[in-house]
Symmetry: C2
Subunit: 328 residues, 2 copies
DNA sequence: CTGAAAGCGCTTACAG
DNA sequence: CTGAAAGCGCTTACAG
């Protein structure tokens, strides 16, 4: 900028005015400055700008795994809202590791992002207290924050799961299995609660062997599904706790002779083209992301007062697998 | 930082030393400083740090659409490499719009990212010349840069498509359709070239009605597929130019009485569970991202000399749909 | 082991 | 319409 000013024979402030399109520069001066900018290949250094202005026009998004089909659309919709507000998006995956989440979040804070959208991996977010006090806007998504009062946007996990299981019961099932993620994960716990509620509503006692919670890698899920299907008290239907689980359960069911009903939480691509089509409890990832990001920018506008908990509805989509009657 | 120094009764430089874990501070002094840091909730401002140090420890990734299942794993692997080098990832979607690509790239340059991984939407990247001269490391991915000499990592689109079409020919097909993305997109053009080559290798003249290039939204693709399948010279097999096309073609074929063979470019989740399983030419998105990011950091290390073009192989995965014989 | 001064590249508040 | 001075929060190069 100094070089540009020297070459154009003007003061620093005049260059600043031209670069930022501020008024109060004669066309002739502006031309000279512009010419110098082009000749020198000058580009304003936003880091320096940020240092003076306070805001960085960037927000951070910490999620579990960018490669998961649920988070792609979510990221994209957060990005679109950020873009509408002139902000860039810094993205990071926690890989479901609380330490990595904290490391990422604090790195983002050190970069002085204006706001933070966090899909929590950990369950204690007190480490964020000083940052919140310092004015970093924050919205938690998909799972609530731990030990801290903050905005949170989530799906109706309890209601969705309860409805999905009730659907299976309505089609005549009583022995229904539940395979979900680790119980420390809020969504998994809530969906399990929904499962239990639906069973209780129907007066069906639940056998311990019908519930399996744990990591959602294919091996664990496969084992859990096989045990439920072939044990002494085999289930006639399975409720899958998320998209990763559903995919593996579909694989297992495809190998079974007996037809077993299935309802999965989360929609999956091509679910309608499988034989049978896969009935799911769908959440709208893009809508969740949009809602969270809009709330974040409203915090930054100062138009938001107290933290709120926003619960978005889910939608049961019947495609065949959830309407299969019990085999026996 | 000034406040911390005042509270601890030390100089600025000493605080800096403690914050950065530099040697040359007595344990007692360090304790006092640390205490002041905690009490004040101090966090180093990386923007200011960047201003002095030169490097921002962040890289930018501009892709087409974060919500596309091909780009999720790619982003994630770029992120992992960045993380290994202590850098954060700023992510942006161009939505296949050259202007938006340029806008994003230049915004990233103004933030002084150390490097840039770009999946180009446009075909002229001369606007990047001043930045490259200024030392921004850059790697193009999936499609080459336009009018500029830069590193590029791509799949063997030509060879992959040629192999996929040859596979259909080997199974007895002669009337084979090709449905792809807009011809100005490099990957689409290369895959079409591969299709033509395979047909020519087999001495099969290609009818104009067998090729359809354009946007890959479901409506256009559906129309194209239906025309090829029901026209005066109907095809017995379809080669789908990318994952978006494949999904729609599968839908159309499911509605047809006649069994039509299909090979798609890009693997898709659950492809093995459809009836029939979908034969694809797979590219490894994670590997592409990793290769590009590693090259980027080697540029930053200075261990890289001249720009190179790296072509990654594709893999034909047979699952049934590509092995269906011609209907007539 | 410790700290005062200068400077990174901008903007703010002010004066001319 | 234009510009000189001060300062954003840090690090560098140096001296003690």
């Amino acid at each position: 900028m100094k070089d540009v000013a020297a070459r154009a024979g003007v003061g620093l402030k005049t260059v600043s005015r031209v670069v930022n399109g501020e008024p109060g520069v004669t066309p002739e001066t502006e031309r000279r400055v512009q010419e110098a900018i082009d000749a020198l290949g000058f580009r304003r250094n936003d880091s320096a700008r940020v240092l003076r202005k306070g805001r960085t026009a960037s927000i951070g998004l910490v999620l579990e795994d960018l490669a998961d089909p649920f988070y792609g659309p979510l990221s994209r919709s957060v990005e679109e809202v950020a873009r509408a507000h002139g902000a860039l998006l810094i993205n990071g995956s926690s890989a479901e590791d609380p330490e990595r989440e904290q490391e990422l979040v604090l790195a983002l804070c050190a970069r002085r992002v204006d706001g933070l959208v966090v899909i929590p991996a950990g369950d204690d977010h007190r480490y964020l207290e000083p940052e919140l006090k310092a004015g970093v806007a924050t919205v938690f998504v998909d799972r609530p924050a731990g030990h801290i009062d903050a905005d949170v946007v989530l799906s109706d996990n309890y209601g969705g799961a309860r409805g999905g299981v009730a659907h299976l019961i309505a089609h005549g099932h009583r022995r229904i299995g539940f395979i979900g993620d680790m119980p420390r994960i809020h969504t998994a716990a809530e969906r399990l609660r929904g499962y239990r509620a639906a069973m209780e509503d129907a007066g069906i006692p639940v056998a311990g062997s019908w519930m399996s919670l744990g990591v959602t890698d294919p091996e664990r899920v496969r084992r859990a599904a096989e045990e439920m299907l072939t044990g002494p008290d085999p289930v006639t239907a399975v409720f899958a706790g998320n998209n990763r689980v559903t995919v593996t359960v579909i694989r297992v069911l495809a190998e079974q002779a007996r037809r077993v009903a299935l309802v999965g939480f989360d929609d999956i691509e091509l679910a309608d083209l499988l034989q049978p089509g896969v009935t799911v409890v769908a959440q709208d990832a893009a809508d969740i992301g949009r809602t969270a990001a809009e709330r974040l920018f409203r915090q930054l506008d100062g138009t938001l007062a107290t933290p709120e908990r926003i619960e978005l509805p889910t939608r049961l989509i019947t495609r065949g697998s959830g309407e299969i009657p019990p085999a026996d």
